[in-house]
Assembly symmetry: C2
Homo-oligomer: 257 residues x 2
């Protein structure tokens, strides 16, 4: 197990940027990676524009342990992810023998033509490893440190579950949270002091609007060091009480609107 394993995520497709669809993949991927100690440090949503995809992948693959992509691996003209990944890892795009054979069998049994468009889905950059998965007959794959997955959420989720055991895992970040009725303007100074005394913890302060246009604040502390988190927890409670506030350990349903 490595101490720290980092990742970036690239959601490829025009439909989220146009506002037509609500992204349904990012939170699931972020959650799944957190659970095995892979830290998602950046996510990008880009259109299916050839140069944008290639440049984004080239930039991110050198900066992170893993780059996950979703979308653009179907058979239609707007599915250009694989040819871009091939350029990013500097390998030719070619029929993957394992994927080709599986798909050929599949379509033969169903008596469906394994036409040129469908064969595009069997192409990967040379040297890629197919993700063994029941998600879809058209495979996801790993090329260098780029993990290429489908965009359809149900398929992507299954591919992610199947690829995660094959990846390096890191130390798992624990988190704890406290809700308080104090405004951020009161919390700011004591929180700054606590953050400087606990540099190994990432303390976040998230104001949420409540029904009556009031606020409450959620303090989220994240670290791989659980004993430091326990010590900070006691100090946060003291701080809130000292400032005349109350804290609430129960995670209320969060208002995101």
């Amino acid at each position: 197990m490595s101490d720290k394993v980092s990742a970036a995520l690239v959601l490829i497709g025009n439909e989220i940027l146009s506002g037509r669809t609500q992204d349904a993949n990012l939170k699931y991927i972020a959650d799944s990676l957190s659970a095995v100690g892979i830290v998602l440090l950046e996510a990008r949503i880009i259109p299916d524009v050839h140069d944008t995809i290639v440049e984004t992948l080239q930039e991110l693959k050198t900066g992170f342990d893993y780059v996950f992509t979703t979308g653009g691996i179907g058979p239609t003209h707007d599915d250009i992810t694989s040819e871009c990944v091939a350029l990013a890892v500097d390998q030719p795009l070619e029929l993957h023998p394992i994927a080709f054979k599986a798909m050929d069998n599949f379509y033969r049994k169903k008596n469906i033509e394994f036409n040129e468009a469908r064969q595009r889905m069997a192409k990967t950059p040379r040297g890629a490893t197919i993700i063994e998965s029941t998600a879809s007959i058209a495979p996801g794959y790993v090329a260098e440190n780029i993990i290429v997955m489908a965009g359809v959420p149900k398929i992507m989720k299954r591919m992610l579950v199947d690829v995660i055991p094959t990846l390096k895992h890191g130390k798992i970040t624990q988190s704890m949270q406290l809700h308080t009725n104090l405004p951020e303007g009161v919390l700011a100074q004591p929180l700054t002091d606590l953050q400087s005394r606990y540099p190994q913890i990432d303390i976040g302060s998230y104001p949420q609007m409540t029904d009556g246009n009031g606020f409450h604040v959620i303090l989220v502390s994240r670290s791989t060091n659980t004993s430091a988190l326990a010590a900070l927890d006691i100090e946060l409670r003291k701080m809130i009480t000292a400032a005349g506030g109350i804290f609430d350990l129960d995670a209320k349903p969060e208002l995101i609107d």
Copy 2:
């Protein structure tokens, strides 16, 4: 009105990347910009890490007409957006006289201390324009081509509504969609032909899983050229019928899972 106005969006904050919260801002911003002909070409979600924010803003502000940011403009230690924007536009961060005066009056009336933490929210890069808005007493602002907004969805939405009339608008992209029962493997070749004959239209093909693990496909065509869209619409219907499929003009509720 310019023909094409482009934008990038930067969502700043750790809570989406950790999987703790579901993003609630991107789709609203994408929708709002589309409606006035500002084309969102990229979105990034980055943590509140100083260098990451500065470098991201420096990169994006030269590539797009506008860069929108959300998050990180509150009073606490993890609110570092404004100091990063100041570096990105190479201006000192200082108390904005209009914001300072409004906030000073506000807190005075409420008998709340206008302390140092709260005064941080009155700081902007020199030369910034405050967004006139009832969204919040702590303002959003425009620095060069960077539009800095709050992260709390309710406040962000109000700021966006108030800033949009002050921006350049472009030609509005129209979209139309057709649902069909044909699989992408059948649609791929005729769609490729149509896309090459209508280069001014962006044709997207989005497979969606249906209840019985089947698929249907949504074809979304987007362009600023409405007469080309109308011509394409007829051809798409003919194509679907010729391939033995049916099309459905009613936008079914989309399955995103």
